[in-house]
């Protein structure tokens, strides 16, 4: 599978048809997805129609978009007109949305070809894709292991060469951690940079849509396409986004990279640490300066997140009532019974856990102690970043404390799974752009990602640093996938 920009350039120049690119992707899905389970829905005919339309457009001499003929997977949390959208939940099984998410509209407007909807943890609540109501996704590098989550289907589809890029969503690390676990590039943009219109809401003060791609330039092009103001999302930033692809040139000479001690403390596995240390040494060889920094409130992040995100989720998910869309419990005599029975049948265990957690922290008598404190802690965590960025250009760390764990390993220990997000959650709470870029794998061959965080709106610097890292660690697809 070629990278995003290679396919788009080849289709634009007439060296490849969109139909041929689409068929190659569908063949790869047919051959590999039975073992990986990255897709909930493969939209074969829908994709072929789009591909034919792109080829006709070229035949008419019309200019093609920046993603001409590029096969793309979209996380099943974003609505697609006429293509089933489940959000990984039985609650939305068979739901046919009547409109496209803004991100989907932008992909189609730039002539991408959407080949299917990627698997995910139910309502994006999870770090392993095991909480999908349908099936777990396997890591293409080792099918006994998780691809991470919640955008695990998106990451696995890219890592196994089914598509060169996919769309994910990231609330506390759900693009970056699966990118790290699968050796792909995953970007969480600045809060407000990408529209959430048509993204099924989980925690609205945190949710961001972002790309996962097989290389940095491909991720940059995808990001450039989906970024920008949207009248349907009131949190959308009005300032025009930076065009990151042009800045993804890989120069780090003279940059000051902050290395927070708190991200290299107890809990970080030795093999991940070795890979990250090697990558940091490579960056210094390229002219960057490593600056030790303190992020003293890092230890508050997971607890803060698991108050704020469930609180918002408990409110957002109240819309699932069996009345306007989704499934409905049968044979209920009253409206109250109908709503309760629908929710009891439709939601899975992790979603129920988070709804109750959110209900608890917002309930009378506990609101100040939990939610009020979490809001205060969130501001302290954001201040850590503000302070750090007075002396450094970016902050670098591991994405996750470990490489991909075995399927089922943390299934009965929700707190342990929550703590695996400890390095990605702080940037989410602060609303900052961050990404995962592959570095050296572990001795057993599992991918490891370097986490880079930049100032709000500075996606250009983010992609530039990632491009420098990529010069030392060229993109690789999973072997044997």
């Amino acid at each position: 599978m070629q990278h995003v920009w290679q396919i788009a350039d080849a289709v634009t120049h007439g060296e490849l048809t969109a139909e041929a690119a689409c068929e190659a992707s569908l063949r790869a899905i047919g051959a590999r997805d039975p073992g990986v389970s990255a897709f909930i829905t493969v939209s074969t005919e829908y994709a072929r129609e789009q591909a034919r339309a792109v080829d006709k457009k070229r035949a008419r001499g019309e200019p093609l978009g920046r993603l001409a003929g590029v096969p793309v997977a979209v996380k099943d949390a974003l609505v697609t007109r006429g293509v089933a959208t489940t959000c990984g939940s039985k609650m939305l099984a068979g739901y046919m949305p009547p409109y496209d998410a803004t991100v989907v509209q932008r992909l189609l407007a730039e002539d991408a070809v959407i080949v299917g909807k990627a698997n995910m943890d139910e309502f994006a609540m999870g770090s392993s894709t095991e909480h999908s109501a349908f099936f777990p996704t396997k890591n293409p590098w080792d099918r006994a292991r998780t691809p991470g989550g919640s955008s695990g289907g998106s990451a696995a589809a890219v890592a196994s060469g089914m598509v060169p890029a996919a769309i994910g969503s990231d609330t506390g690390g759900s693009v970056r951690q699966p990118a790290s676990f699968t050796g792909t590039v995953g970007v969480k943009p600045t809060y407000g940079r990408v529209s959430r219109y048509g993204l099924v809401a989980f925690a609205s003060s945190l949710d961001q849509v972002g790309p996962i791609a097989s290389d940095v330039r491909g991720a940059a092009r995808m990001l450039d396409v989906i970024s920008g103001a949207c009248a349907h999302d009131m949190t959308s930033l009005r300032e025009p986004p930076t065009a990151t692809e042009a800045l993804a040139h890989g120069k780090v000479n003279g940059l000051r990279l902050g290395v927070p001690a708190e991200y290299f403390a107890d809990g970080l596995s030795a093999e991940v640490r070795t890979s990250i240390d090697q990558a940091l040494a490579a960056l210094t060889e390229m002219g960057a300066a490593l600056v030790p920094i303190a992020m003293p409130h890092t230890a508050l992040a997971v607890a803060t997140y698991y108050v704020i995100a469930p609180a918002e989720a408990s409110s957002n998910l109240s819309r699932f009532d069996g009345v306007r869309f989704g499934v409905r419990a049968k044979g209920r005599a009253s409206l109250g019974e109908l709503i309760s029975a629908t929710r009891a049948e439709g939601f899975g265990a992790e979603v129920k856990r988070r709804i109750l957690l959110g209900t608890f922290v917002l309930s009378s008598g506990y609101y100040d102690a939990y939610y009020g404190r979490a809001l205060a802690a969130r501001r302290l965590i954001a201040k850590d970043f503000e302070d750090a960025f007075t002396s450094v250009d970016a902050i670098v760390s591991p994405v996750a404390p470990t490489a991909a764990w075995k399927l089922g390993e943390l299934a009965d220990d929700p707190l342990a799974m929550y703590l695996s997000d400890a390095y990605t959650i702080p940037a989410s709470l602060a609303g900052l752009p961050a990404l995962s870029v592959p570095v050296a794998p572990t001795p057993s061959g599992l991918p490891v990602g370097l986490h880079v965080v930049c100032r709000a709106g500075d996606e250009g610097a983010l992609l530039s640093i990632a491009a420098a890292v990529e010069t030392r660690y060229p993109p690789r697809l999973a072997e044997g996938a």
Binding site: Y95, P98, Y99, T190, Y191, G192, S205, A231, M234, L237, R238, E239, H297, L300, V302, A303, T304, Y306, V307, S314, S318, D321, G322, V323, R324, G326, V327, R332, L335, G336, L338, S340, R343, A344, A349, K352, R353, I355, L356, T359, F360, S363, A369, Y370, G372, R373, A374, L375, A376, A377, R378, R379, A382, P414, Y418, L429, A430, G431, L432, A456
Partner: protein, 99 residues
């Protein structure tokens, strides 16, 4: 540890009736998770003082309102097409007002 009664109360607040095995599991899991939250945010040496809710980080640069211009919305029939049951051009639900 969250008690069985507390779990049932939360389920009622959230319109989420729970089965027996779920109640025990939720009581244990929420106890562990809230124990961590209490330890980190409330009980530890670095305990945080609650403050008035404020804007989320980054929200200062966000636009609260868009231009008030009329644009086509979701068509009536499209909105109804996704509903589990419809009647007389509306969403159909069981009777909820008697008399």
């Amino acid at each position: 540890m969250i008690t069985r009664d507390e779990i049932l109360h939360l389920g009622k607040l959230a319109s989420l009736p729970l089965e027996e095995p779920e109640i025990a599991a939720l009581s244990k899991d929420l106890g562990v998770i809230l124990g961590h939250v209490e330890h980190v945010l409330i009980a530890s040496a670095s305990a945080i003082t609650p403050s008035a809710p404020g804007a989320a980080p980054g929200a200062g640069s966000l636009d609260a309102l868009r231009a008030d211009t009329v644009a086509p919305g979701l068509r009536h029939e499209d909105a109804l097409a996704a509903a589990p049951e419809t009647a007389d051009g509306g969403f159909s639900v069981p009777t909820f007002v008697s008399g």
